[in-house]
């Protein structure tokens, strides 16, 4: 299912998604990305550098949040520009004693922020929160659409 630029309106929601995050997700992201900073898996190290606990890689949250956009666009290659600022860390609790429980929950919602008919692109503005706080700010993905 492909979205067409001609049917879009600024201000329209593209949907929302809930991402459950566990410590295992952070270990998997560390391995896949090559970012083995101990703040993402070692509590005493994280607390030693002044963090409230083990936190998710900002790039994990950025990478997971854009799935809302790629699912909507129908083609992950349509994302030509994607940016964000990292404001608050996502603290991921240790839930290994209860494997079904998420260590953190990230909520993602997207709205069409701008349309450029000439370039056939739409800018999707993402709202990304965890524990009631914005964790990504100015999260914007520009998609090229047919």
């Amino acid at each position: 299912m492909a979205v067409s630029i001609t049917t879009l309106e600024v201000g329209r929601q593209i949907g929302s998604a809930t991402v459950h995050v566990t410590r295992q997700d952070l270990v998997r992201y560390a391995g896949a990305s090559g970012d083995f900073n101990p703040i993402h898996w070692n509590r005493s190290f994280a607390e030693g550098v002044g963090l409230p606990g083990v936190i998710a890689h900002g790039m994990f949250t950025m990478g997971a949040a854009v799935q809302l956009v790629t699912d909507w666009a129908g083609d992950p290659g349509a994302v030509v520009d994607y940016q964000t600022r990292f404001t608050k860390p996502v603290v991921v609790e240790d839930t290994t004693a209860e494997p079904g429980e998420p260590g953190a929950v990230v909520e993602v919602a997207g709205v069409i922020g701008a349309i450029d008919a000439e370039l056939s692109t739409a800018r999707i503005d993402l709202t990304v929160t965890s524990a009631g706080q914005k964790v990504l700010v100015k999260a914007q993905a520009v998609v090229r659409l047919p």
Partner: protein, 149 residues
């Protein structure tokens, strides 16, 4: 440690090419919970017009952070990597990244600003194929926290 005063404007040349593999794309897609079949199945990628598996939109961070590592681990730059926080990130894709690509990254230190006792450093990695085809421009700001911050 003290940030080198002449850091802004420095360039780190492209190192060894990063070879984009199918399994690396599949692993990274799983790691960011991406489920689109074009990341996993060559036929699904072909149905969208891609010659091989399509990388997720933030896959280029692997290559960009390897380039950044040259700066962060450069003893002459004066960056204490244990005090580094990722502040912002942007990807501009000139074309999608596909399995089979051989990509090099040239790193530019675009800006260094004093922030309290620390510094905000903005870098730009220009990613291109070994045949000089532009692939992506990634920009990243890191905050190096000063002592006691």
């Amino acid at each position: 440690m003290t940030i080198a005063p002449d850091l802004q404007g420095r360039t780190y040349p492209a190192g060894e090419p990063y070879s984009v593999g199918r399994e690396a794309i599949r692993d990274f897609a799983r790691a960011v919970k991406a489920t689109h079949p074009a990341h996993f199945d060559v036929d699904a990628a072909a149905a969208l017009g891609y010659a091989d598996l399509l990388a997720p939109p933030t896959f280029a961070i692997i290559i960009a952070q390897r380039a950044d590592a040259q700066l962060i681990t450069d003893p002459d730059a004066g960056i204490d990597f244990t005090r580094v926080v990722h502040a912002d990130q942007r990807f501009v894709h000139h074309r999608p990244i596909l399995a089979g690509d051989q990509i090099v990254a040239e790193l530019h230190v675009d800006q260094v600003r004093a922030m309290g006792g620390g510094a905000m450093i903005t870098t730009r990695a220009e990613l291109s194929t070994v045949d000089d085809e532009p692939v992506a421009t990634t920009t990243s700001s890191i905050l190096v926290r000063g002592e006691g911050q």
